[in-house]
Amino acid sequence: MTAPLLHVRGVETYYGNIRALNGVDVEVHRGEIVSLIGANGAGKSTLMMTICGSPQARTGSVHFEGQDITRLPTHEIARLRIAQSPEGRRIFPRMTVLENLQMGASLDELKHFKEDVEKVFTLFPRLKERQAQRGGTLSGGEQQMLSIGRALMARPKLLLLDEPSLGLAPLIVKGIFDAIKKLNKQEGLTVFLVEQNAFGALKLSDRAYVLVNGRVTMSGTGKDLLANPEVRAAYLEGGRH
């Protein structure tokens, strides 16, 4: 087996004195979709942010393409082509859709801008209709598309998605998951996905990790975890007693 694209080893992250991650190990290989599921406050987003270097891990290491990125500042990690669609989408509300996409392409000084914009517009035709509109006036689903589109503009080797389904209608969530699948199949894009929507995420992923109280308790293929009775009880059927 080749070395993983992203390798998180024994990472512990603290907020002040509170330990949010308690020795997490995660591997993401090229061309995979890997998801991380878990309850509120399990540390999913913290792991995502630790990979991006904000906050940095206190112990343990994060390697990307064999390079230690644990102590790099966030913007330099992004320059290694790790693109992120952060939690809460964080688009630029007063800038237009097109300007938001420009910001995503700023690593390459807009060299491939037109070509990449067309790609994003084919993936999310809604964004094309709204290209001159201000980001803040988009609907939640469109903002999520914009956030993913903006991340794709950087031509990432690894795409980090933090809760892309947050606050969206099921039909729109399905559309976004389909788009992720398509990117993975057609472009071979590697995706690391954090989700609360365990069912959708597990169906989509090649492999998955379950995070409980800052610790990985289970891992396996998406299919296995979907079938696992413990996972079913905790994350899939928990809502309907």
Binding site: P73, H75, P86, T96, E99, Q102, M103, K114, Q131, A154
Partner: protein, 461 residues
Amino acid sequence: MANVASTTASAGSELTARALREAVFAGLISLGLFILFVGLETTQNIRNELVLNQRWGLLATFVVIAMVGRFLMVAYVQPRLAQRKAAKAAAPDVVKEEGFFSRNFSAIAIVALILYPPVVLALTGVQGSLKWVDNFGIQILIYVMLAWGLNIVVGLAGLLDLGYVAFYAVGAYSYALLSSYFGLSFWVLLPVAGLLAACWGVVLGFPVLRLRGDYLAIVTLAFGEIIRLVLINWTEVTKGTFGVSGIAKATLFGIKFDATKTGFAALFGLPMSSAYYKIFLFYLILGLALLTAFVTIRLRRMPIGRAWEALREDEIACRSLGINTVTTKLTAFATGAMFGGFAGSFFAVRQGFVSPESFVFLESAVILAIVVLGGMGSLTGIAIAAAVMIGGTEILRELAFLKLVFGPNFTPELYRMLIFGLAMVVVMVWKPRGFVGSREPTAFLHKRKAVSGSFTKEGHG
């Protein structure tokens, strides 16, 4: 039919009654507000005793104006506005075609400004033009330039800076001190002053990198005060509160503006007058202001300008897109400060005298108020706001006829800040985003459809 007429009549009388009632309330409120400020005045007499003057007549005038104003507002203006609003809502949506004037506003404005001094000269004569070119022209343009400079920091990068006047002071003192100690000319020192101010911008930028919003505002406010206090207390170099006087004038390609044989007036066969120097200064500050605008417009289209705007919107997202927020912030501070420095050295050369009193917090507040009133980020809006606010306070000096209304001791200049504040409240209620609240996009895939605004019209992304 008669029924309808009677209801409108009764509605009319009801409206008048309500207007009268509200006018009485307004009168009572203004009586309460002004009784201590206007009705009573304390002065010192010759023996240094405190004397209480009663100014009931002036107070009555204030109250009457408030009452009449409120009555007219309720009885006539508000119904008219409501009518117009209803008519607008009823009318179908028509896309308004922009007129020639609004499309070419900035070009027209620049041409008008270039023609302004000769026109004033022709209309009012050589001596009469002094006031118009200096007080209205140069004074307003200095503030336009300062506000445009601050706009880079506040409007584009979203970093609230309450100490901008510090860079103005650095620029002014750079020129004043370097020219009086080393005898260097204005044209050499102008870039030096800008550079020094930019350095101070970086010096301020470093400690505040992690701060935003209110916290940033407080630190920048303190920074402005520190610079002023240093200027006051470093007496060996800055001469403290006495200030630096006798600052050398600027020259036009080596031609001096003085009464000698080689001076400007003698060279061109004109009678000697300080007006020519003022006109020269007018074009100088116009050029500097246009440079500021040009640089701002260019930068907005460049990666650094886009990064500033993105930084204003969301710092975390910026970092996750690979933007170095440290250098982005520092360049914003440095660029804004540099234009403050240019304006400062111009101020020194215009006044011929600088003292720390010119660089108090109030100046920062006025500049920031202009940026906010104009609409953060909009060059046109800011220029209009500067003209209204600074021109307005200058006009107050000209309103001698108000003495007829308020009595012979009335000095309108004293009400400058009151009117300034009132104008701010009115504008913020009427247009919460400033005169020009809309932001011009800088990115276009194909041809632009609508051409609006003025300062971004030449670009196709």
